[in-house]
Amino acid sequence: MNAGVIGLNIRQGVNNDNVAAYHRDLRPHTSLVHDESKIVPMLQTTGTRVIWRVTGDDPQHNPLAQSPAQFVRRRFEAVGSNGQAIIHLTNEVGQSQAHDTWTLAALAECSRLGIKACIFNHYTHTPYAVWMRSAHVLRAAAAAGCPIGAHVYWNGVFPAHADDDTHGWLRVRDQVGGQWVVTELGYAGRRADGQLDPNQGWQGLISEAAYSEQLGRAAGWYAQHGVPVCLFSWGR
């Protein structure tokens, strides 16, 4: 099993051989694959744990309207019933009681199938108190050995979080346990109102050298906290 702290969040439509070669160099602990099921076993062969994501899990697609069991089974079938692939559940759907209930049902289906899921993948800067409203779901995932996903975007110098909620989820981890993973990590621009801009990544804002320096800080910081991360994003 690889142990490199920085993995990749891989977009669909990439060259499979290029991704596999990148992984043989990088040897990351965990990477996330979008839609391209053929890449999953290729990366697993290199010793990387793979989170498997299929389009349709974000608020625009209202995944909570789907049967959670069917949602899980469709993704499991789409990845060729690969039991080592971790099924990515919802993406940035936000905390709600309905989401909690849906996630518990999805976890139950995963348990029936003998597979793991990565739950929640909440948007960056989700406050500690919001995470803790779902503490019972987080504990259920932890007890089932299922990872819990969080997104982290930052602007300025990493970790740039001392006075905000960027890493509020680490305090949640101390309360509920479990394996956590940053399923999206990236440098983002700021809009005029001071909020992070989800449409503007590092390109055009900082140089490759500056971003590399920032990622070095992030790698050390997450290794210290024992959290693997998936760098957003890989592939054009």
Binding site: G4, V5, Y22, G177, A223
Partner: protein
């Protein structure tokens, strides 16, 4: 295509940096097993009555190792002197061979565990050569030896971790020292 400006796939300097970082910075599994303290006494089998957090230390501020599920069979130990923090009395608990840590004895009136009936040993300890007191003393000496062994194993673990860290530093240095291979220019 908002995500395009986040892409790192075509940056050779970033790729080179990530490879270096992943050699230097590695995920270490969080310890599931807390070494049994030397003041853990009176081991006994028990069943969990409710879901309880198992923590790395006897305080609610410590990290959760695992959630002990209802009906799980565990081995309980009292702590001598008793560990009391945050208004709770804490027990040392082993859950199979995979997890160990501290769990509160009760939450309010709700006890965390119920003792399981003790099965009589197949053969009682008996010797025509030793008195009961001598057998008790022998058992105590065995306990002392077992505790010393546990401390030795903990020290070995620290040495192992230090070696791994040194290996990572040396590997990193080796990577930095590797000469850059330039592509052949053909025209």
């Amino acid at each position: 295509m908002m995500w395009l400006t986040f892409d790192v796939s075509e940056s050779a300097p970033i790729r080179e940096a990530l490879v270096r970082f992943n050699i230097a910075y590695r995920i270490r599994e969080r310890p599931n097993v807390v070494v049994r303290p030397t003041n853990a006494v009176n081991p006994r089998k028990a069943k969990a009555l409710a879901a309880r957090n198992m923590r790395a230390e006897a305080t609610t501020a410590a990290a959760v190792v695992v959630v002990v599920q209802p009906d799980s069979e565990v081995t309980l130990y009292d702590l001598n002197p008793p560990a009391q923090a945050n208004g709770y009395t804490w027990l040392f608990v082993e859950l199979g061979t995979q997890y160990a840590g501290y769990v509160v004895e009760a939450l309010g009136d709700a006890k965390s565990f119920e003792a399981l009936p003790v099965e009589p040993p197949p053969e009682a300890v008996y010797s025509v050569w030793l008195t009961d007191d001598e057998i008790r003393q022998s058992a105590q000496l065995h306990t002392i030896v077992a505790q010393a062994e546990a401390e030795r194993m903990a020290a070995s673990q620290k040495i192992k971790e230090a070696h791994l860290q040194l290996a990572a530093i040396l590997t990193n240095a080796l990577e930095r020292a590797r000469p850059t291979v330039l592509n052949t220019i053909t025209s």
